[in-house]
């Protein structure tokens, strides 16, 4: 399993610059917002956490179709499914999700503080936004694995994955943004939404790989 993690991590970082494209997309989305809403620094500081979250969500969804696509093209996915008696399929998918998150989504979390500066956020706000992103984005990858597994056989699956998955990640977005706001705005709490966000990540870490494994098994008869 560790070997699979390292292999997927290497492939994710090297092949095709997928992680870099996701990062650039994130940068571009966040940079476009001030052109749309105007350069008012107070307004940007107020909507900053939401912008960081929406940008990260879109960038994470963008890279999701690559989760199983490359493995399907070179046949590795079939080997993984055949070997499901030795290695539980859900566990394999879980490790693949972790590797995908480390390669493509973790750079987004690391870039978030820099983009937070562009948004004129306070240091506490930047810290809170980064922390919530680090805790919440794995949930997007785990639940996104279901969409990626279902649409792996489709030629233009990428857009469909985003459409299918977006309703499911609304809770993650809600609790992530409210925790990020809660750290800055005094009356609002930080810990309750943050803990629920972590609970969502753990819940999806179970539900996502199991459902994705079932979808992969069903899709390759």
């Amino acid at each position: 399993m560790l070997a699979l993690f390292i292999r997927d991590l290497k492939l994710g970082v090297r092949a095709g610059g997928g992680a870099l494209v996701g990062l650039l997309f994130y940068l571009a989305v966040v940079a476009v917002i001030p052109f749309g809403v105007g350069p008012d620094l107070n307004l940007l500081a107020r909507i900053g956490p939401a912008i960081l979250w929406i940008g990260a969500l879109l960038a994470a969804l963008l890279g999701l179709d690559r989760l199983f696509q490359a493995d399907r093209e070179d046949g590795a996915l079939d080997l993984v499914i055949i070997a499901r008696d030795r290695h539980m399929l859900a566990l394999t998918v879980f490790v693949k999700c972790l590797a995908h998150w480390t390669a493509s989504v973790l750079p987004l979390v690391i870039a978030a503080p820099l983009l937070g500066l562009f948004m004129n956020m306070t240091p506490v706000g930047i810290g809170a936004a980064t922390l919530t992103l680090a805790a919440g984005t794995p949930a997007i990858t785990f639940i996104g694995a279901v969409g990626a597994a279902v649409a792996v056989a489709l030629p233009r699956g990428g857009l469909l994955v985003s459409v299918l998955i977006l309703p499911f990640v609304i809770p993650v977005l809600i609790f992530g943004v409210s925790a990020a706001y809660g750290a800055v705005n005094d009356p609002d709490p930080f810990w309750p939404p943050f803990l629920i966000l972590s609970a969502l990540t753990l819940f999806f870490a179970v539900l996502g790989p199991v459902a994705a494994g079932a979808a992969l098994k069903g899709g390759t008869d």
Partner: protein, 255 residues
Amino acid sequence: MSETQTLPDAKAGWFTRLANPTRFIALADRLIPWLLGLAGVLLATGLYMSFTAPEDYQQGITVQIMYIHVPFAWLSMMCYTVMAISSIGTLVWRHPLADVSAKAAAPIGAVFTFLALFTGSVWGKPMWGTWWVWDARLTSVFVLFLMYLGIIALTRAMDDPAKAARAAAIVTLVGFINIPIIKFSVDWWNTLHQPAAVFRMGGPTIDPSMLWPLMIMAVAFTVLFFALHFMAMRTEIWRRRVIAMRRIAARRADA
């Protein structure tokens, strides 16, 4: 597809016997006229009672929208439940009709959800002065509508009906598990961002003079849903037969 499979009648239960599409079509042919007739009678009664029901002392005539709005909203949820049960049928029992049932229910559910949103919007304009508010209830129904559309898009995107059914079944079930989470989180989000509630649905308890037409309309639309569902399933089976026959004909033409 196990279209031609025949089962021994005496041993198999009625549920398994229905796995034979021909038997199901025979049953549907017998049931549909009755269901449609019953739905028609109930709808006529319900509509008559709705129009003669007393007007609300605050909302006036616009309260009549409730008699169609509430059944639509109830059906939008019931239809998703039917789809989730069908999905379990697809994944666990591999019941051939479960695929058909889930596929046929999705567009009907999407239409009922859209109608619930639309009638709610028409009702909201005179009552709250706006077509749309980001209230928790409205938002979760809207998310449900998006989920219906996503599932329909997924089903349409795949050529092989059996594979499409399994993929859609998994997404439907994941969605079914997620609905309570989405509902809860949207409630949280709404109370956090606009503490003063825009309106209260449950407000005063409903008077029996309004409750009766509402109940009859709800039953009428439920019967109508099942009639439409049976018709859609029958159509889907016929469509698959036509496709299978075309393939056989094409193979014969080659030889």
